[in-house]
């Protein structure tokens, strides 16, 4: 969260202090507010009580005045005698004495005297309702939208002739008198209901919340408060700020429902005396935070500066720069800095040693292959800038392992060191390296290839001197390979490799020095591409099999076939097995290929079976796979679906690599009913020992012997003895490469069991093979009828 310790400490301290301050401020504010509220509330309640008293006193005073008048004999006489001038003067007299706004009488017939009826704006009608229900009504009456305190007293002379009515406006001036009675400046307003809309209306010039107009919120609050049993101070959220309110119902005249006395006091006014105190708290807090921020910033700085220095030093160290720091204090941080310095020094030393080890050969202390590669890279960059060429000369000590076997590892290494030093002396400044046990290499810049060749020849001449190792001298014979970039090699990074290959090419040509020949080397990338194409071809069906008949010499018909893999490449045409099978063996793809061939063979065998031909199918099995248990599992799984005899053909050589595992797998195949055939017998490393151990069923004599049978006595003899050997071991014998009728006749005579070759038939596709079998069957049928010699007929067709 914080990238710097100093910021973190400062923020933490300031944050904690600030939080504490905020909490304190809030608590102080809350208690002040609560206190102020309580004061206002008490004041409102007492104002409410005072108002009640004042209201009652006023009502009583008016009532007294009205009653006094209504009972005055002279007044009654004036009323009874309709002496209006006297009535008016009496009313006016009393109105002035009591300081009231309206004084009039209203007769039992509703006639108003003493005031212009229009001035009452219909209030007299409601007044009549009230006096009919009550003798001495007293309460709030709305006159022209202004609430009035009204009392009425009946005039009895002695019968009821009318009422004396006094009305006093409850406007702002009137209420100010009440407001002055309160210790705090409470806003007091009497609200009545509008004649028609029944909405709450306030007198003009009302102060406080009801000033202006009564909002809907306020009306709702008043209605709610009026429902209270006992008047209670309530909070009200006015647009201008919160206020505490007290609503008291006031009796009204004229059936409008009670009027309301609204006492209010804005909280802002209540809080006003405390604002300087709150301001002081906030200012003090802000000052405190500022001091704290500065203080913790400086404290954190003294703590974190050594840490920052170490942090920067570590970053320098990781970049491999000088990482020493100056210890500034003698405390833990100072000691840490010293420890860090010594640690950094050790790291640099170790790094130097590791780098040296990584770049040098342990035995000779010459630069190694890695060092040379880097040097060549640098050289290539330099040469490119100067228009020169880079040559790498690989220097191989001939028969190094023999020499090492003769003189021992230590001396052999010493010998390589001597040669390397000699080389370095001859080519001072040029990078050299020991790239393999018996191989040194040197890189240098030349103008042309011939110059490189001359230098190579010169070096060879000098270096092929006997090397003195102590008191011994060892003769050294060298083969050199030269690669030059960009003339011979198009990739500077491959120069050392290409030089080594040039050595191989020199040896293959029995030369002492060769220049790298790209054409002869071929392209390994292309080989890998071929493999991936092969895998693709398996799925597309471009790899398929042909069947070559195996002819039973005794039965005189074809009883089996060897499945031979074929690849029809969409661009290159037919690809020979020799072109891809060895590579498949090297890259491990042989397993996929063999499984594919096996499943094809089983499928085609089933197809033949469906046409009525029982054919034993042989599949060649690579020596790489014989010892492969997983392949064996897979093959056994596939073989389970075979609808006839399966035979796996393998060479004895295949067993030699992993005899134990190979023999185990052969046993498992044999147990599963798969026949094992020893292929190419007589060539390679045929071992009688394995012949004895292998649980084989058949032996195939290599065509090299069979083809020569007709001409050479020796081959015929070998074939005959092999046939006899196999038979005596209980094996059947198949002769490969039968190309003439003569050979087939000889083999038949020798007791050979099966024959295979062009004389019988070439490998062919399944359909052709089926046709071939059908024709053979037809001919056999014809032969048996005619009893003619079929050999000659077959010779004719071949």
């Amino acid at each position: 969260m914080f990238r710097r310790l100093r910021t973190k400490l400062t923020v933490l301290y300031a944050g904690l202090f600030g939080a504490a301050l905020i909490v304190i401020s809030l608590v102080v504010y809350a208690s002040i507010a609560a206190n102020a509220r309580a004061v206002v509330r008490d004041e409102l309640m007492s104002s409410g009580t005072v108002f009640d008293r004042v209201w009652t006193l006023r009502a009583n005073q008016l009532q007294g005045g009205a009653s006094l008048l209504s009972r005055d004999f002279g007044f009654r006489e004036a009323v009874a005698s309709r002496d209006e001038a006297t009535i008016r003067s009496a009313l006016e007299n009393l109105r002035l004495r009591f300081g009231i706004d309206l004084a009039f009488i209203i007769g039992v017939d509703g006639r108003v005297t003493g005031v212009d009826p229009g001035q009452l704006k219909g209030a007299d009608a409601r007044l009549m309702q009230a006096v009919e229900q009550e003798d001495n009504p007293s309460g709030v009456l709305m006159i022209g939208g202004v609430p009035h305190q009204v009392i009425a007293a009946p005039i009895l002379s002695p019968t009821l002739v009318g009422w004396v009515v006094f009305a006093s406006r409850l406007d702002a001036n009137e209420m100010q008198a009440l407001e002055r009675l309160s210790a705090i400046h409470v806003d007091a307003v009497v609200l009545g209901r509008d004649d028609k809309s029944r909405a709450w209306v306030a007198p003009p010039g009302a102060s406080g919340l009801a000033g202006g107009a009564v909002t809907r919120d306020l009306a709702g609050a008043i209605d709610a408060a009026m429902a209270d049993k006992a008047p209670e101070a309530r909070d009200f959220r006015a647009p201008g700020g919160a206020a505490l309110t007290l609503v008291k119902p006031l009796k009204s005249i004229g059936g409008d429902g009670p009027a309301a006395l609204l006492l209010s006091y804005p909280m802002a006014r209540a809080m006003a005396p405390y604002s300087p105190m709150l301001a002081i708290i906030v200012l003090t807090g802000a000052g405190g935070i500022t001091v704290l921020v500065i203080g913790s910033w400086m404290l954190a700085r003294s703590v974190t500066r050594p840490v920052s220095m170490l942090d920067e030093a570590v970053q320098r160290l990781s970049r491999g720069e000088n990482a020493a720091v100056e210890p500034t204090t003698s405390d833990e941080l100072g000691r840490l800095a010293e420890s860090f310095n010594s640690m950094a020094a050790e790291i640099r030393e170790r790094e130097r040693r590791i780098t040296h080890l990584a770049m040098h050969d342990q035995e000779t202390n010459l630069p190694n292959r890695l060092a040379l590669d880097r040097a060549v890279e640098a050289l290539a960059a330099e040469a490119g800038g100067r228009g020169l060429k880079v040559a790498v000369l690989s220097i191989n000590v001939n028969r190094f392992t023999h020499v090492r076997g003769a003189i021992g590892y230590a001396l052999a290494a010493a010998m390589m060191g001597e040669i390397g030093q000699a080389l370095q002396r001859l080519r001072p400044g040029d990078p050299i390296g020991r790239v393999a046990n018996g191989v040194l290499a040197v890189a240098f810049m030349v103008r042309e290839v011939d110059e490189a060749r001359r230098i190579a020849a010169h070096l060879q001449h000098i270096l092929e001197a006997p090397v003195r190792l102590g008191e011994h001298a060892v003769d050294v014979s060298l083969t050199l390979g030269l690669a030059v970039y960009p003339d011979l090699v198009d990739d500077a990074a491959a120069l050392v490799n290409r030089a080594s290959i040039a050595v191989d090419q020199a040896r293959a040509g029995h030369n002492k020095l060769a220049l790298f020949d790209a054409a002869a080397y071929g392209d390994p990338q292309a080989k890998l591409g071929l493999m991936s194409e092969m895998l693709g071809a398996i799925t597309t069906g471009d790899i398929f099999i042909h069947l070559q008949p195996k002819f039973d010499l005794r039965a005189g018909r074809t009883t089996g076939a060897e499945a031979l893999v074929r690849w029809r490449h969409p661009q290159r045409g037919m690809v020979g097995p020799d072109d891809f099978i060895p590579m498949a063996e090297e890259t491990g793809h042989i397993r996929t290929l063999t499984e594919h061939v096996l499943s094809l063979a089983i499928a085609q065998q089933a197809a033949l079976k469906a046409q009525g031909f029982d054919i034993a199918v042989s599949v060649n099995m690579s020596g790489r796979l014989v010892g492969d248990h997983e392949f064996a599992e897979e093959a056994l799984q596939l073989a389970r679906h075979a609808q006839g005899e399966l035979c796996l053909e393998l060479t004895e050589t295949a067993v030699i690599a992993h005899p134990q595992r190979a023999l185990e797998n052969i046993e498992r195949f044999a147990d599963a009913g798969i026949r094992i055939s020893i292929d190419d017998y007589g060539t390679g490393l045929s071992s009688l020992a394995y012949l004895k151990q292998m649980r084989a069923h058949e032996l195939k004599i290599d065509k090299a012997f069979v083809i020569g049978m007709a001409e050479g006595q020796k081959d015929a003899l070998l074939v005959r003895s092999t046939v006899d050997l196999a038979h005596s071991l209980g094996l059947k014998v198949t002769a490969e490469g039968v190309e003439t009728a003569m050979v087939q006749a000889l083999l038949t005579a020798m007791g050979c069991d099966l024959a295979q070759g062009y004389f019988i038939a070439r490998p062919m596709a399944l359909a052709d093979f089926a046709t071939f079998l059908q024709r053979e069957r037809d001919e056999a049928a014809g032969d048996s009828r005619r009893g003619s010699a079929r050999r000659s007929a077959r010779a004719g067709t071949a």
């Binding site: 009583n60 009532q63 007294g64 009205a66 009653s67 009972r71 004999f73 009654r76 006489e77 009874a80 005698s81 003798d135 001495n136 007293a153 009946p154 009895l156 002379s157 002695p158 019968t159 009821l160």
Partner: protein, 216 residues
């Protein structure tokens, strides 16, 4: 505050008895039963009848033509007198009274007179005279000055009987000081039987009597 009902009831009864004793040829009686809106009997309602060819002279009623002041009250509450009657106002209270009336029928004023003093006033015009005392607000009474001999006021059962009315259709009026009607009076035509007694039920609406205690 109400009047003393027992006294009024006995006076009413006396009036009924006196009327019954008066001899009259080919005439019948009509008993008026006056009730209020709730069916309760109304006392002190004055029933008058004006048969055709009425001679309004030599009228005389059986009850005393006086309005006594006793126990700070007028007695009776309602007094029926004929036109031209002299009504005396004897004061039996130990305090003085100041009887007055602003009624248009006969405004008068009997200024402060003491115990066992009597004043009398002659009423020449038919109508209602409301009486009050300027000193004692609670004192109220009414004198109904009539111009017919056929007048009676209801007793505490709400009954008033007019005797010896000529047979046939007669205009009758019922008046009460607190009746909700114009001039506190209603009028109706009543059939008088040849012999025996007819009966007339009259229902009237009363307003409450004003509270005379006042505010103070």
């Amino acid at each position: 505050m109400r009047r003393r009902p027992a006294l009024c009831a006995s006076l009413g009864l006396a009036a009924v008895l006196l009327a019954a004793l008066a001899p009259e040829a080919r005439a019948g009686d009509v008993a008026f039963q006056v009730v209020d809106a709730k069916g309760r009997p109304v006392m002190d309602a004055v029933v008058t009848a004006y048969p055709p060819g009425l001679k309004a002279d030599q009228m005389r009623f059986s009850w005393a033509q006086e309005m006594v002041q006793r126990n700070l009250q007028f007695d009776p509450f309602v007094l029926i007198v004929p036109v031209g009657a002299n009504v005396s106002f004897p004061n039996h209270d130990p305090v003085r009274h100041h009887v007055y009336s602003f009624s248009l029928a006969h405004p008068f004023e009997l200024k402060l007179y003491g115990k066992d003093e009597t004043r009398s006033v002659r009423f020449d015009k038919a109508g209602v005279v409301a009486l009050g005392c300027n000193i004692h607000d609670n004192m109220v009474a009414f004198i109904k000055v009539v111009d017919t001999p056929f007048a009676a006021k209801t007793d505490d059962k709400g009954l008033a009987v007019l005797k010896g009315l000529p047979t046939g259709q007669v205009q009758a009026r019922v008046w009460h000081p607190y009746m909700k009607a114009a001039r506190n009076e209603i009028e109706r035509t009543v059939a008088v039987p040849a012999t025996g007694s007819g009966r007339e039920m009259v229902q009237i609406d009363l307003r409450n009597a004003p509270d005379r205690r006042g505010g103070y």
